[in-house]
Amino acid sequence: MLRITVDGTAYEVEEGLTLLQALDDLGVLMKGVDIPHYCWHPKLSIDGSCRMCQVEVEGVPKLQIACDTPVRDGMVVHTGNERVRKAREGVMELMLVNHPLDCPICDQAGECKLQDYAFDYGQMHTRTREPRRALKKRVDLGATIVFDQERCILCRRCVRFCREIPGTSELAITQRGDRSTVETFPGKPLENDYSMNVADICPVGALTTRDFRFKVRVWFLEEVPGICTGCSRGCNVHVGVADDQVRRYTPRRNDEVNDTWLCDYGRMTYQEIGAPDRISEPAVRGDAGQLVGTTLEQAVECAAQLMRTAVEKEGPGVVAALASAHATNEDLAALRGLLAALGSETHGVPIVTGPADALLIRPEKAANAEGARVAGFGEPGLLLDKIRGGGVRVLIVLGHDIIHEQFLGSPEALAALDGVILLDTHRSRLEQVAHVVIPARHLAEKGGTVTNFEGRVQAVPAALEPAFEAVAEAQVLARIASALDLSISDESERKRETD
């Protein structure tokens, strides 16, 4: 460990780091020690080109860029004195020479580093009377990203990202000098599984996702911590909520899980939350064989009745449950509790699998696959055999992953059951065979914990209320249990209190 002094405060830092990296690792960068920076990004290689991060190092005649200055034992650094401020103002002024300053119509306004630092270090208007560089305002770099050439400050974060993280190198700076611009090679658009991250790391409003562009001004957006449910990585996200709707996911930094990235697929899973095919109303199958809308109380009662009848007729073993690996640990615990109280041991969790990569994307396409295993849920094979063999009369289904071709294939396989109790977020063909349908909450609507593939238990709060009446699955299950006069140890509630 080395000792350095920054603005009069001593810090212990690790050898071999640059000043910015060391301060970032300590958690004080921009949170106590303000060294504005554009090109430096904690997860990308050093660029050293924006020249914004200059600081004074005692004993060194020239100002040094903090992003590329290794820490030395006994180093004394000044980050905010007159000389440093003047240098930053100089960089800011030059940076703004060609900037369109169209903040009022810029999507980045409110989370723009240029705007932020310009307030601190700039005249927002430079003294230039020269015409600004006129460039293209809307270039499609690929299917997901739109580029405003005029706003680009050429920090090369996006270029380095594509080269260093997905390794696809679609972006390059072409031309030189003040004609420089970001471009793709002809016929090779920005097209990788992580493309939208470039919009997050672009420090200005030059790169925007086609999805979020002009949707909401960021200051109307409430950002709540969440977890992506796209795979068992469990990437940390900010759930961006405005007008009671989730408008976007953006990465929430977690160096142990996802650094500062999200895959495009996972990022877009937020759309599931406000999707038009959400199950929004409890229903029970009526005498005419149709599903008829009802209240939650009646749906719960109906479910309890189906289970009661089956158990009375054929014993507790004929009630079984299939849960999706999207269910939280709390939901799964409640389900196990209910089954245990009934005396049934028949359950399974089907885990849909798909392509994976070496970066983030995991093969198990649900956030809580590992949590399900830890909770004792196994592969659904035995359960499916038992269903096919007639050994199950009533089935509780949590989530529709079961009708993935890997598992049940089609819902017909359940048609012979006396009761199919479906707790789900989204409509599916399972409704054709369900006797009771109860709307469920998405993770972002209920919060809770999920366990990622490495066994990391991650807790998130609810980010918003669903647009319809729905309670979390754990509570639905608890109500069914109480309708059956069973007591299930509600681990979910206890867990939540201790978190």
Binding site: R51, M95, L154, A172, R176, D178, R179
Partner: protein, 432 residues
């Protein structure tokens, strides 16, 4: 050592009038490659470095760094190859000495490469030549081929057992590829953009290997240092800057051309005695001592000896020795326009100050020249140049800022004249 060496003060160009000198046999006829053979056969690398350090040969590529010292930075104990690079990118307006050195004395350059190559243990020299130099490239390639066929280059250099190859690489037309790390990027097939330093090339240069980059002329001096000795070499030029150099004189002089003269020759002597002075009886107005990136000097300051230690006192530098002479008909704002246009065009564009500042300077210059400037613009010019200086990845931004600062320092009144008259007081000499 009783014998007296003849006092040759144009040793680099002595045989340049002889067309045969470009061939291997012609070069050998003048004793060529004998020095290298003797040095490689008889001396240790340490001795060679020692001699070079004692010689005090300063790099001729612009920065004037001590060549022997630079070669001594090359690690000798590392496994794997190390490289020399001969910087033949010569793109500084006003400079054309390397071109002549390559066209007229390609073997002198190759011999000059072999000695430090041996001293640094380099396996290969990359000779990086600017793309526009098609003819010098052809001549050099022929010389390399001839030298290779003749056992001068290759696995057994001059029969000494030392192995060395020279690889000619042509650039694609960018001034910034003359900056040594921009060159290395380009050499590796990347966009020519200077690297952050450290690491310096001696540690991590071409293809990640220890590398030293030197100017064409720097190499060309080396055989002479060994042929005639350190004392002889140091007897030419000044204490701090020994040897001759090639002054390329262009602009308003009677006899533009290349003059090999001792370092420390006075600028006015070069202009008036060697280059014949200003034609048509017109008065001299200013001169740039060493290529456009060096601050110009007004007529009253031309009695300065052309060596860095003296030019420094005048706020300028020797640069590449490309002297550009301007007479009284020259509009200094136009000079500013032309120079700032060059830098705007050539900035690689990585650093904020350089990318944006070069464009801004050029726009300001143009506006003032066209009569649209204000007094405040002069302060902005100075201020922008100040903000570009000393804060960027490479020295290009300084090179772009200094000429502007010098113009304002020495010719502010002429800028003001443009502002007040709202037009250029000079007849338009060429289209901007």
């Amino acid at each position: 050592m009783g014998h007296r060496v003849p006092h040759v003060t144009h040793y680099l160009t002595e045989h340049f009038a002889d067309p045969g000198y470009t061939t291997l046999s012609g070069y050998r006829a003048q004793g060529g490659y004998e020095t290298a053979r003797r040095v490689l056969a008889e001396q240790s690398p340490e001795e060679v470095i020692g001699t070079l350090k004692n010689a005090g040969l300063k790099g001729r590529g612009g920065a004037g760094f001590d060549a022997g010292l630079k070669w001594s930075f090359m690690p000798r104990d590392q496994a794997g190859p190390s490289y020399l690079v001969c910087n033949a990118d010569e793109s500084e307006p006003g400079s054309f000495k390397d071109r002549v050195l390559m066209e007229r004395g390609p073997h002198q350059l190759l011999e000059g490469i072999l000695i430090p190559a041996f001293a640094t243990g380099a396996a290969t020299t990359f000779l990086y030549i600017r793309g526009e130099y098609a003819e010098p490239a052809r001549i050099l390639q022929r010389a390399i081929d001839e030298a290779t066929a003749g056992g001068v280059l290759g696995s057994n250099v001059l029969g000494t057992g030392f192995a060395h190859q020279v690889v000619l690489v042509r650039g694609a037309g960018a001034y910034i590829c003359g900056e040594e790390t921009g060159l290395l990027e380009s050499l590796e097939g990347k966009k020519g953009q200077p690297r952050r330093k450290p690491p310096y090339p001696a540690e991590c240069g071409a293809f990640g290997r220890p590398t030293t980059v030197n100017n064409v002329e720097t190499f060309c001096h080396v055989p002479h240092v060994f042929a005639r000795g350190v004392d002889w070499f140091r007897s030419i030029g000044t204490e701090e800057s020994p040897g001759t150099t090639l002054f390329g004189v262009s602009g308003h002089v009677e006899r533009p051309g290349l003059y090999e003269l001792p370092l420390g020759t006075r600028l006015d002597e070069i202009i008036f005695e060697h280059a014949g002075g200003v034609p048509g009886g017109r008065k001299l107005k200013a001169a740039i001592p060493g290529g456009v990136s060096m601050p110009l000097l007004p007529a009253g300051h031309l009695d300065v000896p052309m060596a860095n230690e003296f030019l420094r006192e005048h706020g300028s530098s020797l640069g590449t020795g490309g002297v550009i002479v301007m007479d009284e008909t020259t509009c200094m704002v136009r000079v500013g326009c032309v120079i700032s246009e060059f830098f705007r065009d050539e900035s690689c564009g990585q650093c904020t100050q350089c990318r944006e500042g070069t464009g801004w300077l050029h726009k300001l210059m143009l506006r003032i020249e066209r009569g649209g400037g204000t007094e405040a613009d002069l302060d902005v010019l100075e201020d922008v140049a100040g903000k570009m200086e000393g804060q960027t990845i490479c020295a290009f931004a300084d090179a772009a800022a200094w000429p502007v600062q010098a113009l304002l320092r020495h010719f502010r009144s002429e800028f003001l004249e443009h502002v007040r008259a709202e037009k250029c007081p000079f007849p338009e000499s060429f289209e901007l």
